[in-house]
């Protein structure tokens, strides 16, 4: 460029014109390239979606009502999101699904703090400088919820879980992002449970956790939402039920079903649970160990789970068998809501 454009262009204008008249073929090629560079309007993406109009049907975020955690990769299909009823039904189903495909609704958020910082800025320029944004802030939130000790112990396991997260506001708007055609939760970079606190005058954060999202693009540029309704509140999180060995005679094992907090489920649900399928696994071989029968044992507030005696007899002393209760989905279908059984391991004497 220095060949043609001088600092005092006006003064040298006649010379410039005269040199252009003497340009070679190579010079014309260079001039054409420069013309393309200067044509900045053509550099804008033809796919730009920028516009500033007000959509005829839109909503603004309201106060936070809850969150729906989801196992990493859980998606709501286009069928799930076709109608509000279908979406609510899908949330309910996934709330009792097997791990890996489960969602974890919490609609008792008491406090919400947006911990998203301001974006990082930096000065650019030489003689005159401007301050511009150089890095996006990472969306982060603190949620205080209506916790209790046993519940918070379970919720605290979020620290080791691989999760996505939907956010629900008090108009039952469910906010997430989009993956292809499917409705997805925001990717979670870190879920951190705060330690529980003894109560103070300000108790909204007595039980709380913090969530930092992984990708601002999902949250800002690809945020989508579904406005559900209060029917969504029927989707509830599960309570863990630990199976515990009460006694055993041979491979006939009496087990207690103790929910978090200490509630024994047998006196409440009696035969509704014993009618469901229990399974067992030989932990030494990984093979299934047949459960031949299950019966209610009300005199012990327990369930009698009978393992196949032939296979039991073949075990060596010290061998372990894991007894698994019915699945959360089976329990839910039988009206035993909202629980997930954790297995018990019995050891052959």
């Amino acid at each position: 460029m220095s060949k043609f454009i001088k600092t005092n262009r006006y003064h040298f204008a006649p010379k410039l014109v005269s040199r252009r008249l003497r340009m070679t073929g190579n010079d014309f090629a260079k001039a054409a390239y420069m013309a393309d560079l200067k044509n900045l309007a053509n550099c804008a993406s033809p796919d730009s979606i920028f516009n500033v109009g007000i959509p005829p049907c839109d909503l603004a975020k309201k106060k936070i009502k809850g969150v729906i955690f989801a196992d990493k990769g859980v998606r709501f299909s286009t069928g799930d999101t076709a109608t509000v009823a279908a979406f609510i039904a899908a949330v309910k189903t996934k709330a009792a699904a097997a791990r890996g495909g489960r969602v974890y609704p919490m609609f008792d958020i008491l406090n919400f703090e947006d911990s998203t910082g301001d974006p990082s800025t930096g000065s650019v320029g030489n003689l005159s400088t401007a301050t511009i944004v150089t890095n996006d802030a990472v969306p982060a939130f603190r949620f205080g919820y209506n916790g209790t000790e046993a519940r918070h112990t379970r919720v605290s396991a979020m620290a080791g879980a691989q999760l996505d997260m939907f956010i629900v506001d008090d108009q039952w708007g469910v906010y997430g992002t989009v993956d292809g055609d499917e409705f997805a939760g925001f990717s979670v970079l870190q879920a951190y449970p705060y330690t529980s606190k003894f109560i103070t005058a300000d108790s909204v954060n007595q039980y709380s956790f913090r969530v930092t999202l992984a990708d601002i693009t999902e949250y800002r540029d690809n945020s989508v939402y579904i406005v559900a309704n209060s029917g969504l509140s029927a989707a509830a999180g599960l309570v863990n039920v630990q199976l515990k060995e009460l006694s055993k005679t041979g491979g006939a094992v009496k087990v207690l079903a103790i929910a978090d907090g200490g509630t024994n489920l047998e006196p409440i649900y009696t035969t509704a649970i014993s009618a469901l399928t229990f399974t067992a696994t030989n932990l030494e071989t990984g093979a299934a160990h047949v459960v031949t029968s299950v019966a209610d044992a009300p005199s012990d507030d327990a369930y009698l789970v009978t393992l196949d005696s032939t296979a039991w007899t073949a075990l060596s002393s010290g061998d372990r068998v894991q007894i698994n209760g019915p699945s959360a989905a089976a329990l839910s279908a039988a009206g035993v809501k909202y629980f997930e059984f954790l297995p018990v391991i019995v050891t052959k004497p």
Binding site: T249, G250, G251, A252, T271, S274, A275, L276, T277, V290, V291, T292, S293, V294, A295, D296, L304, T306, L307, D308, S309, T310
Partner: protein, 69 residues
């Protein structure tokens, strides 16, 4: 995969996918050995196994549409 529901006899859910593949004599012996039988004496327990097996098998072998009714 057997998707039939296990019959429940006298409150005992009997795994007929397991016992149904056996002869009655073998199944009732295994039921007794497993410790799942109802009764105070060995005689009562064996009688219960005999009756329970018949009841469970009849229920388990019903056509699916009849079970739904």
């Amino acid at each position: 995969m057997n998707t039939k529901k296990n019959p429940i006899v006298d409150g005992v859910q009997i795994n007929m996918a397991h016992f149904g593949a056996m002869t009655k004599a073998e199944a009732t012996k295994r039921m007794f050995d497993d410790g799942m039988c109802i009764g105070k004496t060995e005689k009562e327990k064996k009688e219960w196994a005999d009756k329970a097996f018949d009841t469970a098998k009849a229920e388990y072998d019903k056509p699916a549409d009849e079970v739904k009714k």
